[in-house]
Amino acid sequence: MSGQDPIAAFRVEAGELLDATEQALLDLSHDLESRALIDTVFRGMHTLKGSGAMFGFDALAAFTHHCETTFDSVRKGLIPATAELVALTLAAMDHMRTLVDDRDGSSASAVGEDLLARLHALLGNAHASAATLSDGEEASRVGPAASCLGHQSWHVTFRLPSDALTNGTNPLILLDELRDLGGTNLAVDLSAVPPLDELDPTQCHLGWALDLPASVTREEIEDVFIFVIDDMELSIEAIGNQAEAVGTSGDALPASEDLPIKNSSQVVPVAEARGSPLSRPASESVRVPADRLDLLMDRVGELVIVQSRLAQLTSNGVSGPAGELALRSISEEVERLANELRDTMMVLRMVPIASLFGRFRRLVHDLARETGKSIELETDGESTEIDKTVSERLADPIVHLIRNSCDHGLETEEDRIAAGKSPSGRLRLSAQQAGGEVLITIEDDGRGISRERVRAKAEANGLIQPGQVLSDSELLQLIFQPGFSTASQITNLSGRGVGMDVVKRTIEGLRGNIDMTSEPGKGSVITLRIPLTLAIIDGLLVRVGNGKYVIPLAAVEECLELSLEEDIRSRGRSMIQLRERLVPFLRLRELFATGTRPDPYQKIVVIATGGERVGLVVDQIIGSHQTVIKSMSSLHRSIPSFSGATILGDGGVALILDVVQLVALGQSHEERLRAAG
């Protein structure tokens, strides 16, 4: 939850509401007749307007009002939902986002006016009159009219509606209020009370009469009865003046004051900072389902019980085999609880990937319009959960990949028909969980990647030598090299000046990796493998010389023994044969210059990433280790081969090996050896 600031909470909520409404609009664009979707859009606007006004977002409320009115007309069947209306409303929603960020909306009022002008042009003059805040709302803000004076006092008689008691009205409280206004001479009218056997005790049968001083206004008296005035008998007579009958009034409480909620010193971002709807600021709160919190509470409860067991044991003294046994049982219990707490905690940070995917529907919609291509987006596995931070950091890379697919991958309608494909291009976004990782694939059925063009470009940019022999996967990997993407390639769409190398770096920064396959003429598939969480990993603890290191377990393929003879035989080549494949290996002892003698029986840990394998020679494999990742200090961050550090049970520090870097290093060794013949 975002603390105690309702304005911050409103911003988060408005963002979610806009997202949901936008989804409904996008769905509506495919099914213009759907009542349910029109209702959803209307409801979204309605809520946004209502809460916006509550928190002083007047510009937002006023602007949203127009869109709400429009959709109210659509809802009532007065005007049809059209593709133009949906497109315009989507643009209007972007403006609403600006107004959510910028409360007074001064920086973007021209945009708003332009949108409204277009909206009105679309609707025609029929709805131009609905453009101002509705009269009812204005009326409720008008202060009470001046009361008539010049009389001695008021005589008030009233009888509450018979269901007043069941509806929660307490006559005693009303009488208290009247007393506070200075009421005197109270008399009760019992005439309508039925005989006891017919009496329904839940009904109100009494009537009252009293006098009030002239200093009280009629409005103040009516205000006492505001909630029941429409359904009750009430007469307010001015004594010493002409008697007046009472009409209905009192529509609402005055609500014209400004919100007393302070806007503190929030920095309101300027509208210009938000280029596209995708640059939404990350919300800082996480919504947690209650049952997950309950689970956490259970675990913490168990922990407290174990703690008291431990306290009891230590005060009794741990001695003898029985004491040791008890201590061991507690230790096991704590271990189990620590694991469970870790898992529960991780789950609290998880959000469904749907929130991320949802943004891309709009992106694809816009891209299709801009490129004039017809693109169908399919999504799958939206309920897959992923760490919130990871999800946010994934947005930009995936945007880039989708832009690439739409811009370079998918063909125009004519080209597709000429190639014997369906006229609209298919873009598929899917997510699934596999072990401790989430696999996200971005798949298109476009023209695929032309190897010749990649090669030509890489040669032109000096990434490879002309005529250099490369495997197909190596050739595709070139796309991710820095310096591959050049300005000449950047169009309006993918023109963010970001190359695929940045995408790759971002993904690797999340300890994930990126893989690509492509079949010319049939399309491309990009697979991102992202760990579920950033904070804790399962690791393999190894020893090299006197130092301990952690290898992320997800990357470990197998562990082998490197016998002394094999070690000597492989010297100079640093390759081992692994089921018909030669795998290069790195001697970590030499790489880290430990200066120690190797253990007689060294081990090789084979790690793999992106289809490439490398063996790491270590002195000892200690075992699996729950690794809480601590980032490296800024001094050490630039050292390759390490991605972080962790603290061991004995208080020592172990460095976490950077699998991607080490595999790259191993591969380059191999290439050097190959080049040397």
Binding site: P6, T47, N167, I173, L253, A255
Partner: protein
């Protein structure tokens, strides 16, 4: 101090209500939709219930009708929040058994005024 339930699908509105009421010394419970509101009202006696009408799962009207059937909430004042300027919604809510209403947007002041009015404090 009164025990007040606020039912609204908007977290920010609930928060604003909670801040205003707890500032005035009331204990505030929250529910995010009509169904949850009815659940809470079935098990706990509240001194007052403040609810939105326009909510998913179970709308406010339906919830008010159901709460009025609960013996435990006999006579509990129910205030509904409304942005509707037409009388129709207000009449429907009153017919469903609501005690009074508060027009959105409202300020903390008006909320407290209604609360005082209904609770008599």
């Amino acid at each position: 101090m009164s025990n007040i339930l606020t039912v609204d699908d908007s977290m920010s509105v609930r928060m604003a209500i909670r801040l205003a009421l707890s500032g005035a010394g009331h204990a505030v419970s929250e529910a995010a939709d009509g169904k949850e509101g009815l659940d809470r009202a079935s098990s706990t006696k509240f001194d007052m219930i403040i609810t939105d009408l326009n909510m998913p799962n179970m709308n406010g009207l339906e919830m008010i009708r159901e709460i009025r059937k609960l013996p435990i909430q006999a006579g509990t004042p129910i205030i509904f929040l409304t942005t509707e300027s037409d009388e129709g919604m207000k009449q429907q809510a009153k017919a469903a058994g609501a005690t009074g209403w508060l027009v959105k947007p409202f300020v903390a002041e008006s909320l407290l005024k209604v609360t005082r009015k209904v609770l008599g404090q």
